[in-house]
Symmetry: C2
Subunit: 222 residues, 2 copies
């Protein structure tokens, strides 16, 4: 199994946690997004979308974090990262997808660069942009968690699911951008509980061998 990863990829972070929770050993291939390696010919032939993460396993190539997580769930089901019941799976997938499609895509490096370089947005504009989508997204997630009929230790029940695997990287990112996350107490209590588990803690960007500081490199970032 080969896993194409980069420490600062928020989407790859989700998969790093899953691999650790499932105890899977993957050969890690670092694709340096800051150096532009995702625009190289070898990478483009692997993934025409030129995005991380990618998983290769026994002749199967899977792109996009949630499809990789669904693949892992199908092929390596233990421990399960989706609930056993249809309603639970639907809730977890809805929660995870809210992060993956309504929050993260608006905050990525390519988007912030476009805003700065092609629309002339100031660093303050980009900070506001970031904060707007974080507040809209986390506010909704906090309300989803508060409305649970049977609150557990994690987003759904008492073990981590895809919902937690998406939530933790997104809040990591928000903290990196200096956002105040105190309006989201349920979210942050779950994140604190996740970060106590080695699979989550060891997947954080600064724990990866390719880590280096990105301070000052990102428009609107700190």
């Amino acid at each position: 199994m080969k896993f194409y990863d980069f420490h600062m990829s928020n989407a790859a972070y989700r998969v790093r946690i899953a691999l650790r929770l499932k105890g899977l050993e993957a050969e890690r291939v670092v694709v340096d997004l800051v150096a532009g390696e995702h625009r190289s010919a070898w990478f483009e032939s692997l993934n025409p979308q030129r995005m991380l993460p990618i998983l290769e396993d026994g002749g199967v190539t899977v792109v996009q974090s949630l499809p990789i997580l669904e693949y892992l769930e199908e092929v390596y089901p233990e421990p399960p990262l989706l609930p056993a019941d249809t309603a639970g799976r639907a809730w977890v997938r809805g929660f995870a997808q809210s992060i993956v499609s309504d929050m993260h895509p608006l905050m990525g490096r390519r988007v912030r660069r476009y805003l700065a370089e092609r629309i002339g947005a100031s660093a303050a504009d980009i900070g506001d942009w970031y904060g707007n989508w974080i507040a809209a997204g986390l506010g909704g997630l906090e309300d989803m968690l508060a409305a649970r009929e049977e609150p557990g230790a994690f987003c759904h029940g008492d073990s981590p699911t895809l919902a937690d695997l998406c939530l933790v990287p997104q809040t990591y990112n928000a903290r990196r951008f200096g956002r105040d996350l105190s309006p989201y107490p349920t979210v942050m209590a779950i994140v604190a509980r996740c970060d106590e588990l080695p699979a989550f803690a060891d997947s954080a960007p600064e724990r990866q061998p390719d880590w280096r500081s990105m301070e000052g490199m990102i428009p609107g970032g700190r």
Copy 2:
């Protein structure tokens, strides 16, 4: 079964196709996004994310289009909209997710409004922004389709899958914005084949009872 829908929601369009392909009758509840009905208290209590689409079925509420499609696949498996093999499912999910998380979120109405009202982007800026993400996304999808080992009539094989259900609404949207889609011949051949099927054709925005023209209402739109 209740389906919360609006003719111009691209994400809801995906689910409309699935419901028709599976022959499912749902009570359709129109949520007028232009009138701001998604910000009303009744809707927010249903979905704190304040987004369409939503499916309610036998006590289960599912938010987000892909989770709804996965739910339908689990509960109403015929005809299947995911391949029978793990590798095929992973490919289809990766293709669909590329649209759902790398293209569509950057083009929605709330994003275009933010760019215009809060960053001061001109209509031309917004048109360029839209075109940039369409070109990046469709270019990658065209390459993914061209690289298939066994090209079929649809994105994967000879019957529609979630990949087609996401592709058709996205290209509908691109045409509405007047984009030239001739650089994507494989994409467009598949879209033409889909649009010959009543389930796809009848799901188009202008075939919905709540349809009205949105010309001129959208910054950067035609």
